[in-house]
């Protein structure tokens, strides 16, 4: 039975990839519980299974074995459409390479998750503007991604991840492409979101970045090697 306190609970999760004849065991039995309002960093060497784990947490992939409860619902049993709905309603994503849509303006990019919620976009105009202002882009709302710097693009992505008021924000190396100054800016914003109560799960390989989290989960060869609480 899932822990009622936890927004995320994975139990004995395994993930295998079939590459030709060989079966790659990316996750080999992982248990993890994340409670509301926590700030978790996932660290580990390249190939240790960080991204695979984040993809499963993000409902982008299903575990080969094991259970995953997201807000009390068993994700491992969901079909493609239900997974899409779960992502759209309950999760926010921040990617290393920002992943904004080139033909849309800042404000339109922020709206994208709402499109698939079947809501009237007009009702959310205010909220989208507020989010743009929150990340400091109130004066850039009609700009296109190509007219923005990397840091600015990542800030748009953060605003976009918040628009559906998600249970949890998942970030895979969100500062991997940024210089140290803009890295600092972006981490400040993420820290502030957590301070306001957002649950954050972030993959990173930088100690300085991980240091901002409450919990650091160290992975190695597809299992959790150790956990540190800051």
């Amino acid at each position: 039975m899932p822990d009622p306190e936890a927004i995320i609970q994975i139990k004995d999760v395994e993930k295998n990839f079939q590459v030709g004849e060989i079966e790659v065991r990316a996750l080999r039995g992982v248990d993890l519980t994340i409670t509301q309002g926590s700030y978790v960093a996932i660290m580990g060497p390249s190939g240790s299974g960080k991204s695979t784990m984040l993809n499963i947490l993000g409902c982008l992939d299903r575990p080969t074995r094991g259970q995953y409860y997201l807000g009390g619902e068993d994700v491992s049993q969901m079909d493609d459409d239900t997974l899409s709905a779960a992502r759209g309603k309950r999760l926010g994503f921040i990617f290393q390479s920002y992943n904004l849509i080139a033909q849309l303006t800042v404000i339109e990019n922020i709206q994208v998750p709402l499109i698939y919620q079947g809501v009237e976009l007009k009702d959310y105009d205010e909220r989208c503007k507020e989010l743009a202002e929150l990340v400091g882009l109130g004066d850039r709302m009609d700009h296109r991604p190509t007219q923005l710097s990397g840091g600015q693009q990542q800030r748009v992505a953060i605003a976009r991840s918040l628009v559906n008021d998600p249970l949890m924000i998942l970030a895979d190396e969100p500062t991997g492409n940024l210089d140290s100054e803009t890295e600092h800016e972006v981490l400040e914003i993420i820290g502030k979101l957590n301070a306001d109560g957002k649950t954050i799960v972030m993959v990173t390989h930088e100690d300085a970045v991980a240091a901002r989290a409450h919990r650091v989960v160290h992975m190695k060869d597809g299992i959790i090697a150790r956990e540190v609480t800051n």
Partner: protein
């Protein structure tokens, strides 16, 4: 809610297409040409066949027209400077036999047609004297404008009365009421008892360059018995060193059948009947209904050819669209991954790319409709060719363009939806 999503998707489609204006424009060309050519060619074809059919219809679709026809061997018989008389053509007996032996025959109207000058005072107009019966207006579309047509009594008593066409009246008595006057043909005076307007006969098809509705119509109708008595049956032509004479009883017989079905069954029966009593091939049958059916068959053929051309050009256009959309899907794999991560279901991705394709094809279709409607109008304006733009051809062409978008958009869209979100996000 649903409409807001749809509107959003259409806007997005337009935006995505505007990102590559030239490419989108070139892709649309195929559809533009396809739709435009369908509408324009159908309009021109429809116009041509409409004209042909109108002409044939004026001959009467339930009529069988039999013309006397000078047999070619008769020419050879006549000596170069010898006086000769040729006897050929339809007879009064033929007309009587047609009336009594052909089933479902209605009126059988015999005609004599003589070219003569028609005179009034000092005015003289070359025209045709047509000796016929009272049923003539029934078989040949004739509007009686003034007075009445010839009656059976006129024929019985060989009265010197005539009915003239409006055109002739205008030429002979431009300033007088024709009905109180008489016209002179050769040396005989005929009292004008009526005026008619012909809607068309074989000789009176409007020729190219003439305004529609103004056929040459210098006709004078007189009772058949009167024609026989006044003009005889022999027409003499003087030629150098002698004369030639032709004896023809009737120049034409029009048999009006009860309905169109009977026309086709009657045709071989009439042929057989005439063959039995004519040694030489001195008559010809014209069956307007058959001409009409032939015209329709030709039109059907034309439409099939046209349909094939249109189908091929739309197919080519569709393949062009599919090609571009497949390239677009590859180009935008990352975008697809992002949208999937942000909550888009497979069907949302399908809708997005399908709508983009439909925007392309319907956009091309609209431009095609515009050019396709303008082309026949321009053709009609600059030449005197008739064109008819039928609403269904516009709907058809436009509908097919939309359908092309759906058919050729489905594959790229499903390819896009099939992408694994994680793979798509990783795509460079």
């Amino acid at each position: 809610m649903v409409s807001s999503l749809l509107l959003n998707t259409v806007q997005l489609g337009v935006k995505s297409l505007m990102l590559h204006k030239l490419r989108s424009g070139l892709t649309m060309l195929g559809i533009i040409f396809g739709v435009c050519s369908v509408i324009a060619m159908l309009a021109i074809g429809e116009g041509a066949s409409y004209e042909a059919q109108e002409r044939i219809k004026r001959l009467g679709s339930t009529n069988v027209i039999i013309n006397s026809f000078k047999p070619p061997e008769a020419n050879d018989d006549s000596g170069s400077n010898q006086s000769s008389e040729i006897d050929y053509g339809l007879t009064y007996e033929d007309a009587a036999r047609l009336q009594t032996t052909i089933p479902n025959v209605g009126d059988v109207v015999p005609m004599r047609i003589i070219r003569e000058n028609i005179r009034f005072g000092r005015n003289q107009v070359a025209g045709q004297v047509i000796g016929t019966m009272s049923a003539y207006p029934k078989v040949q579309g004739l509007d009686i404008v003034r007075g009445r047509f010839l009656s059976q009594m006129d024929d019985k008593h060989q009265r010197n009365v005539c009915v003239i066409t409006k055109g002739l009246a205008r030429r002979l008595f431009p300033y007088q009421d024709p009905l109180v006057n008489t016209v002179r043909i050769q040396s005989v005076y005929y009292e004008v008892i009526g005026m008619v307007q012909e809607t068309g006969t074989i000789e009176q098809r409007p020729k190219k360059g003439e305004a529609e509705g103004e056929p040459i119509d210098n006709n004078v109708y007189i009772p058949l018995s009167t024609a026989r008595a006044r003009f005889g049956e022999t027409i003499v032509r003087r030629s150098s060193g002698g004369f030639s004479a032709e004896r023809v009883e009737l120049h034409r017989i029009i048999a009006k059948m009860k309905d169109t079905e009977s026309v086709l069954t009657a045709e071989p029966q009439i042929k057989q009947l005439l063959k039995r009593f004519h040694e030489q091939n001195d008559y010809e049958l014209i069956v307007p209904l058959q001409l009409l059916m032939e015209a329709e068959a030709t039109k059907r053929m034309f439409n099939i050819v046209l349909g094939s051309i249109a189908a091929i050009s739309l197919l080519v256009g569709g393949i062009g669209i599919m090609n571009i959309m497949l390239a677009t899907v590859t180009e935008r794999t990352r975008e697809i991954g992002v949208r999937r991560a942000l909550g888009a279901k497979k069907k949302d991705i399908i809708t997005q790319f399908l709508i983009e394709t439909i925007v392309l094809s319907v956009g091309g279709g609209l431009i095609g409709v515009f050019i396709g409607v303008a082309t026949p109008l321009a053709v009609s304006y600059f030449t005197n060719m008739m064109t008819v733009i039928t609403p269904w051809s516009v709907l058809l062409a436009f509908g097919i363009s939309g359908l092309t978008g759906i058919v050729f958009g489905l594959y790229p869209a499903s390819q896009a939806a099939k992408l694994d979100p994680i793979e798509a996000l990783r795509h460079e």
